[in-house]
Symmetry: C2
Subunit: 333 residues, 2 copies
């Protein structure tokens, strides 16, 4: 896309709840911003509604997704399109909002059909912005700030602040590692240890996230942890979130019922990312000999596999590493 | 004190709940650490108990403060002493744990009575460590890391991690400014806006705390905000804490009952620091022309004085400053 020469054109791939929310938000911006075409094509995985009507037709008639986002107007410039190829053919900016298991198949179908220079972004989690609750997000980028800023402009609204950071690895590692810390926070909840302890655990978790990310990828920047993908997402995940919730139940059961069992019972098919991420992190720590440096991350895994009791999450006396080597801090412990 | 030549000797000034907790914790360490005398003198503001016995005698007989910390042994090396001058005469490390309004008077009494080179520390808030819940704290210092580390050693236990940072201003500003952010968090609670919004507000608050501290005092370090005095205390204060609680009530009343009124009703004489700190910060912002740079800090004050409605706490659309000037971040908004 010759940014600056022609207008940007956006297509949204997906029309479930979050796809509809994203289309609505984006369309409110493309209608205002001169560098974007007003129209936002939203690809709809076609369904026949109980009324006998096609979902895509229903959306275009009511300007509302009566099945996945009822009661909220999408904006006149959102056009539902059940034909994938047609939906994307004029677009140079694609927004993926399908369940992740469909992405590979969709990409195969799109191969060779896109305009040269087309960019894509993936929105992998839902947010409470359909009802315009204040929220925020971070976009990571590599070198090309202009591209990142254009994407940020597309998403920013008065109730949804989007920032960009030149640190893809940092943004991704924050998104992954926070789920391990949420397990730790959930254990503290299940042990009824109160807010002071929980805050301490979240802080130590953030510290280990930062140190681990920097060891893995030296380009990771401190600032990233002050962005919404860092401290804000960590707080959200440790206050709500399913990793926290299942870990709380695990601790309340004294570790006697496994995470697998609780997950199956509590999440109805959804998966806990924190447990599998803790395992992967542990493998890296063991392989590189860093275990002693990351007591919280290590302990979470050892609790998850039943090697340590849930109460170990607050016992760091035997291994209190000096992370100052990594973080440049003067921390005493 | 000739550290390394003679043993350090600790006196605790105060024997209320938190004074007793501190004495117990410190005594468990002085008993183990070779660089400290075992004995910890605890100055007791003498009282006659309902039994007719003196409080200090009761403490020394039962090794327990039956009035302010019943049911918990202080450790055999804690000696209660009602004579202030006698309690401190051999000490070179003083720990102040009295209510703050007594400090000035006590200091006047101590003037000229202390050994040369005596150091003092003040513990201004209580923590949940009497029952050995996991918690942490940060000690700020200027230049002399050895002194700071000695103090940290005195307080560190397996359930109480103490770190030191060479950043007195940063530690103090964190402690003050977090109360303003807690007001913002409480308003979000009162507006029932959910965890995503609350986390976003806490994150923006942390960002403004950091930027404001660095503008006020250029020696303030980023690392300080990753210590317990930064992100962990902020989380604790925004989850519990009286600033949060009264601000929640303020928002639930639609701003129609003043903070003064709610404070009198809810806190029974305790004072809200957040409201007065917000006012002081606002004066600095106005005086230096920085108001536009700190929408959250400014808005909290304007809401407190009734100039803006509580809902303004999530409306930053009209003033979204680029704090990257200050923080070096690439934030878009």
């Amino acid at each position: 896309m010759e940014n600056g020469h022609a207008k940007n054109r956006v297509a949204v791939i997906g029309s479930g709840n979050w796809g509809s929310v994203a289309s609505r938000l984006i369309a409110s911006n493309t209608a205002k911003l001169p560098s974007f075409h007003d129209e936002v094509r939203m690809w709809v995985f076609e369904e026949i509604l109980p009324t006998g009507k096609k979902l895509s037709e229903s959306i275009n008639q009511a300007n509302e997704n009566c099945k996945y986002l009822p009661g909220i107007k999408l904006g006149a410039n959102v056009i539902a399109d059940p034909d994938l190829e047609n939906a994307v053919k004029d677009a140079n900016m694609l927004v993926f909002v399908t369940p992740h298991q469909f992405v590979e198949d969709i990409c195969k179908k799109l191969a060779g059909k896109l305009r040269p220079g087309t960019e894509a972004i993936s929105l992998i989690k839902g947010m409470e912005i359909a009802v315009e609750k204040f929220s925020e997000a971070t976009i990571g980028y590599k070198k090309d700030k202009e591209v990142a800023t254009r994407w940020a402009k597309l998403f920013t609204t008065p109730y949804f602040l989007v920032s960009v950071v030149e640190d893809i690895e940092g943004v991704e590692l924050c998104g992954t590692l926070k789920n391990v810390v949420a397990i730790a926070a959930g254990l503290v909840d299940g042990l009824d240890m109160g807010n002071n302890t929980k805050a301490a655990i979240m802080r130590i978790g953030l510290r280990e996230m930062r140190a681990f990310s920097k060891l893995l990828s030296p380009t990771v920047r401190d600032n990233t942890f002050f962005e919404s993908c860092g401290v804000a997402d960590l707080i959200t995940t440790c206050l709500g979130g399913r990793n926290r919730r299942v870990a709380e139940a695990f601790a309340r059961n004294g570790g006697k019922r496994s995470f697998d069992e609780l997950e199956a019972e509590m999440l109805h098919g959804q998966k806990l990312q924190g447990v599998s991420t803790a395992k992967e992190v542990y493998e890296v720590l063991t392989y590189r000999g860093w275990q002693e440096l990351f007591p919280l991350l290590s302990t979470v895994h050892e609790i998850c596999i039943g090697q340590l009791p849930p109460t170990s999450i607050v016992e760091y006396s035997e291994h209190t590493p000096n992370l100052s080597i990594i973080s440049g801090s003067n921390a005493y412990y």
